[in-house]
Amino acid sequence: MTMRTQTVRHRRRPRTPYLLITPAVAILALSMGYPLVWQLVTSTQRFGLAQQFGKAPESVGLGNYVTLFTDSYLWTVVARSIAFCLVNAGVTVLIGVLLALLMKAIGTVPRLILQVSMLLAWSMPVVAAMTVWRWLFDWNRGVVNWVLTWGGLDFIGHNWLQAPLSFFFVATTVIVWMSVPFVALSVYAGLTQVPDDVLEAAQIDGANGWQRFWGIVVPMVRPVLMIVLLLQIIWDLRVFAQIKLLQDAGSTPSETNLLGTYIFQLGTGSQDFGMASAVSVFVLVLTIALSWFYVRTLLKEDA
């Protein structure tokens, strides 16, 4: 506490802000700096298991990148990942906003029920959540097939994971289920900051619900929406665990690989750490490019 108040007191001095960011910078440099540099260096080397066991790595310059960019498979995965990311981020934010509006529109009791449900879903360990979802969609003993069959449809033995589109439908269901609580609760928190009197005044002035929503509510929750959307895009572009665990259950990996599982397959799977690093660096650049618009807007608003 002492430290903090002192820094505030001396805040006109130019040294203070640097002192304040030192711990964060230090921990970032320590825990992210070395891995980042390692990844950059490794991406220019021929680096397999033998190199990990002490053989001197041979530099190949941009060789890995050349191999990568001339491989049409990379572009397939990139296109698939971007499409998957946009669909998932979009659906998640849409449902999240709708649920936030719903929370605002209903009484305390149903709202609390909804919020607690979201919270419980949110606190479920990932591995457990994925296991349950795999069971629900299992071809032989899954509840989904059972219920659909019970409802008169022929879903006995239907294999949800085999066809890539159907696989991604399941993946989207799971990811939306996992991500919506965060979005809905954040946006709802943002909505509660919209002052009631402003809305009421607008209503008196004759604005209808739709106009009030776009004219007042949306601009006021815009900062929250921006951040939420940015995070969803970052996370959905790099989604790994859900896809990997679903691939373990079924599907043909080369047809369902996204960038995260592709890196994993190259590195941990095939011990080609040079190529895996090259893809990682590429994904970093790609993420920055994709989110650049948002990052710039955020930075401008921040200034």
Binding site: V8, A24, S186, I288
Partner: protein, 327 residues
């Protein structure tokens, strides 16, 4: 397979479980950071007009249906944890575990390592939360209250560092922690977690700090408080929701993470709960997985998270009450 958002794309569920931005903890979203109750959950427009009961009832019904959809997997986890493995393999689902028992819980608790893993997980998680909050708070203070050279680069670095995919990082992380001689230690894994969580929390807290007008503090000083007192009494309480939200985020990340833990914490005595859970998933190549036990372990891991939610909710209320300043 991993859960640290920034560094870990794998970041599965936990990554996706980032906390709300800018305002209070989701459990109590009806309270604004300025301490006034907002909305009360009623649509203001609806209050004014003749109440459209039917519409409201329909919406409430929709809310209940959505709740059930979101709860079902959780229910399925708990229900399965009460059933023996052979029933879980049935093609006919058991919707209500009437024949359930606590056998799975007994087995996993008396099995190996739960107390040790719980202790390890608590240590790693609490240390991560405390360090993250401290570091992120200071940095947020710097970027929202000061203009300095390099500020923009710092903000940008904080944003971008979250975008590095982590699937290929495990060798570097092992070498890093190994060279610090911190393998199999709480500190070693915490260093990685803090680095992974700090960027997002800096970003989040920045908004909260910026949201408290410096004039509030200055006004209090005019009233005779020292700057320290002004900060402690006026500004700090207003940051409570932000600190709680960031804390929840850091907590979930550290609690659920397991790809880093897998590499850094290899010895038996240093396992965290997610690694302990994994040992039930892949117990043996010569025995089948006991899914009932997996679900019991999963439920046990979720319980502290729920407790944590309840605890911070209470803390936050009191913090808000004592520090409420009518904005």
């Amino acid at each position: 397979m991993s859960d640290l958002a920034p560094a870990r794309p794998g970041s599965a569920g936990a990554t996706r479980s980032a906390p709300p931005v800018r305002t209070a903890l989701p459990v109590r979203p009806a309270t604004r950071p300025d301490g006034t109750a907002a909305g009360r959950g009623t649509a203001p427009a609806a209050r004014r007009r003749p109440v459209r009961r039917a519409g409201r009832a329909l919406l409430s019904l929709a809310a209940i249906v959505v709740s059930l959809l979101w709860l079902f997997p959780v229910y399925w986890m708990v229900s399965s944890s009460l059933l023996p493995n052979v029933l879980l393999q049935s093609t006919r689902p058991t919707f209500v575990p009437v024949d359930g028992s606590l056998d799975n819980y007994r087995a996993v608790l008396t099995g190996s390592g739960f107390p040790g893993a719980l202790r390890m997980s608590l240590a790693v998680t609490l240390l991560t939360v405390l360090v993250v909050l401290m570091f992120a708070f200071l940095a947020a203070l710097a970027i929202s209250r000061f203009r300095f050279r390099g500020r923009k680069s710092f903000v940008l670095a904080v944003l971008l560092v979250q975008m590095l995919p982590a699937e290929g990082l495990f060798i570097a992380q092992y070498k890093l922690i190994g060279s610090l001689n911190l393998l199999n230690s709480v500190l070693g894994v915490t260093i990685i977690y803090v680095g992974a969580v700090v960027p997002f929390t800096v970003w989040m807290l920045r908004g909260f700090v910026a949201g408290v007008p410096i004039e509030l503090e200055e006004a209090a000083m005019v009233d005779g408080l020292s700057r320290t007192q002004a900060f402690l009494r006026i500004t700090f309480p207003l940051l409570a929701p932000g600190l709680v939200a960031s804390g929840v985020y850091a907590f979930l990340q550290a609690w659920n993470e397991f790809t880093v833990a897998l590499v850094i914490l290899q010895s038996d005595g240093a396992k965290t709960l997610p690694i302990w859970l994994r040992s039930f998933l892949q117990a043996s190549a010569s025995r089948e997985t006991d899914w009932g036990q997996v679900m019991a372990s999963s439920t046990l891991i979720a319980v502290p998270v729920i407790i944590f939610f309840l605890v911070v909710q209470g803390r936050m209320t009191s913090g808000l009450m004592s520090g409420a300043v009518k904005g």
